[in-house]
Symmetry: none
Subunit: 217 residues, 4 copies
Amino acid sequence: MDHAKRQVKENNIIQAAESIFETVGFHSSKMEDIAQKAGITKVTLYSYFQSKENLYMAVIYKAFQALTEIFYSSIDANRSNNGFDSTIAIFESFFEFCEKNFLYSEAMVDYFSMIRNIKRSPETNSTLTESIFFAKIQDLQNLPIKLTVKEINRGIVDKSIKRDVDPMLHTIQGWTMVVGYIKLLTASGNIDSPLMHVNLKNLKDLSLNMARKALRP
Amino acid sequence: MDHAKRQVKENNIIQAAESIFETVGFHSSKMEDIAQKAGITKVTLYSYFQSKENLYMAVIYKAFQALTEIFYSSIDANRSNNGFDSTIAIFESFFEFCEKNFLYSEAMVDYFSMIRNIKRSPETNSTLTESIFFAKIQDLQNLPIKLTVKEINRGIVDKSIKRDVDPMLHTIQGWTMVVGYIKLLTASGNIDSPLMHVNLKNLKDLSLNMARKALRP
Amino acid sequence: MDHAKRQVKENNIIQAAESIFETVGFHSSKMEDIAQKAGITKVTLYSYFQSKENLYMAVIYKAFQALTEIFYSSIDANRSNNGFDSTIAIFESFFEFCEKNFLYSEAMVDYFSMIRNIKRSPETNSTLTESIFFAKIQDLQNLPIKLTVKEINRGIVDKSIKRDVDPMLHTIQGWTMVVGYIKLLTASGNIDSPLMHVNLKNLKDLSLNMARKALRP
Amino acid sequence: MDHAKRQVKENNIIQAAESIFETVGFHSSKMEDIAQKAGITKVTLYSYFQSKENLYMAVIYKAFQALTEIFYSSIDANRSNNGFDSTIAIFESFFEFCEKNFLYSEAMVDYFSMIRNIKRSPETNSTLTESIFFAKIQDLQNLPIKLTVKEINRGIVDKSIKRDVDPMLHTIQGWTMVVGYIKLLTASGNIDSPLMHVNLKNLKDLSLNMARKALRP
DNA sequence: GATGAATGAGATTTCATTCAT
DNA sequence: AATGAATGAAATCTCATTCAT
């Protein structure tokens, strides 16, 4: 099968997996069901992805890919605005992305735990670390961060962001707010069900405002 | 066995579980190993905790308990300070708590995912929802939040915090920052290994500063 | 479980396996079916026998055990006869045993092939060589041969067997005739269906007669 | 592809199969490996031989063919000798053939087991029974036996063999000795490694001598 | 007819969880 | 209440065999 065709089938499988993961969660999902959803057999599934976690890795990769796309779009849309606006827009997109792509946002957070486990016992997870998707994620995961850093730097240059801001530090700080937001979102199920009477929409706005304050000169 | 004895044994088991979870993570841990560590058999283990997740619930409960203690201590230590200082102190303690109690912080975050799963399929998780620890956590989980809200309110009254602050919203926002911090901490393994060249200490300071800005009148 | 009980269950499983092997043959048999026949689950089956071949080893062991019993009985029954008669009686019993215990005789012959395979690639067959049954067979397999040798020696001493007979060589030669007989028996299915118009009964008699001629002084 | 070409390729495949069977044994062999050895793909392999057993059938056929050749040669070489000598010469050739053609001798013995399995479940083995090689073997398998019978008959006529010998019965009896010899050879691996301190050469000589005694007037 | 991909059947393993004593 | 054995569900793997192109 040529590369393109394989890609298509692979994507097909990943989509099936996403649909199953979304419905029952990664841990309760069954390879059998995923295979069936993809219209293939378990063995074929395994010939594409060496394990369930491997398959999840692929989903995580898709998540990072999608997020990266979002970041590029946001940056592009704010090309004519200053660095400050673009930076804030990025975070706004990030929040939105998470709300709309539950599975993806959860996947990205799970990625951190997987990294931890891999570090804990690299031998046990060799099938993971050898996965092409693992390598791809490694290459990709920092891109959104770098893009944000770049916009913050642009803001510093064009004076829309205060000069003593450490771009990387502030970027990471932004991530903590988003990641925390995701987890709370996870707990409450969706953006419309309030958590402790707090509307998640307001929470997002507050976070964005705090970010504005932190960056504004 | 009388109640006291059972308590002791239960605690014994929980400690064994914590040690195992800490070493290999919840998902890779085996009931067998936990039982062995606790010096009992699997069946006895099950007579104390109806399932592995149930056992994790107990750990999570301990985490919330410990956190609550920390919050009380912080509040008590800041009795003579204003609400602003007390609020910030709480968050500072919270960060510190997470750094020092890796397992507990991870557990609290995992709690959110479990809540999600329980919502997804309540029937499958009936053993969880019927667990005494689940009920206990339900009672306890909001306490730290309420304690924080109370200090913010005190700050509003004593004018150390600006009046248009929504105490619950800001409390939750604080949590997102801490939770995000925990997850990034998780990924990097420990506070001393930097993430993208960012020292996690600086990250914490930045978050606290942003909180200060958000509360200050 | 105490040793005795385990023995009972083990035997239970072996009997189920024998019944299945007898019906469909070793290669077409399914562990699932054997487990079901034994009234246990696959996993339990595997906890007793590490693999299908391992289970076959146990059957082979039973075969050698049964054969040894037969030899002892024959020898005992011929205690008061001379060595010649006893030796011939052994071979007669051997033939009879094979006719009556199809599975066992086939198993013993298969054992030779397994030995060959194990020699060819010892690593691949480690689960076999480590089997307790493998060890047991090793201990047992030579016993029937030795018993025969002993009777031939007795015949030499009592002059019923000619003195220049090499007991071991003639014993092994006897085995070749029996083993060959088994294989032809295997092919024809059972003793009553003639092979090339040759009644297997006559074939056996001829072989025994040839043995007589070879031993007689 | 014209018939000749197909023949060449077929032979090519059979040779590859023989080499693989010889190395790892029929049961452990993989169609994949055979295809690779033959320099073709699995599917092509299957277009020549409908199943693995079918392929084995082809090898078995070759074995019977080769054996038949040997028998003819032996008979031809003993044209001027009497029937007794020719008959013994045939068995001597048979033994030698087995020693030199391990795979072939094993294959012929396995043939008997396959016959058994086919009898047990004819439906499952329809691909076998429909195989051209199966038919060919059916035609061929009795030829060596008939050739032997013929020589024994010649011996009876020329008085070199005693008259009350049943040619077919004695032929089959000869086969049992050879077949048994093969199996023991199989177990010990090769003719030079002694079995129970018995040199296989001596074993062969003994068998031949017993045959002589059985035939001699 | 040849190829790479896919199927189907079954072996084997791993664990959480439950049973029988 | 404690123990060793057993269960059940699912993951994973291996191969002979078949499909689609």
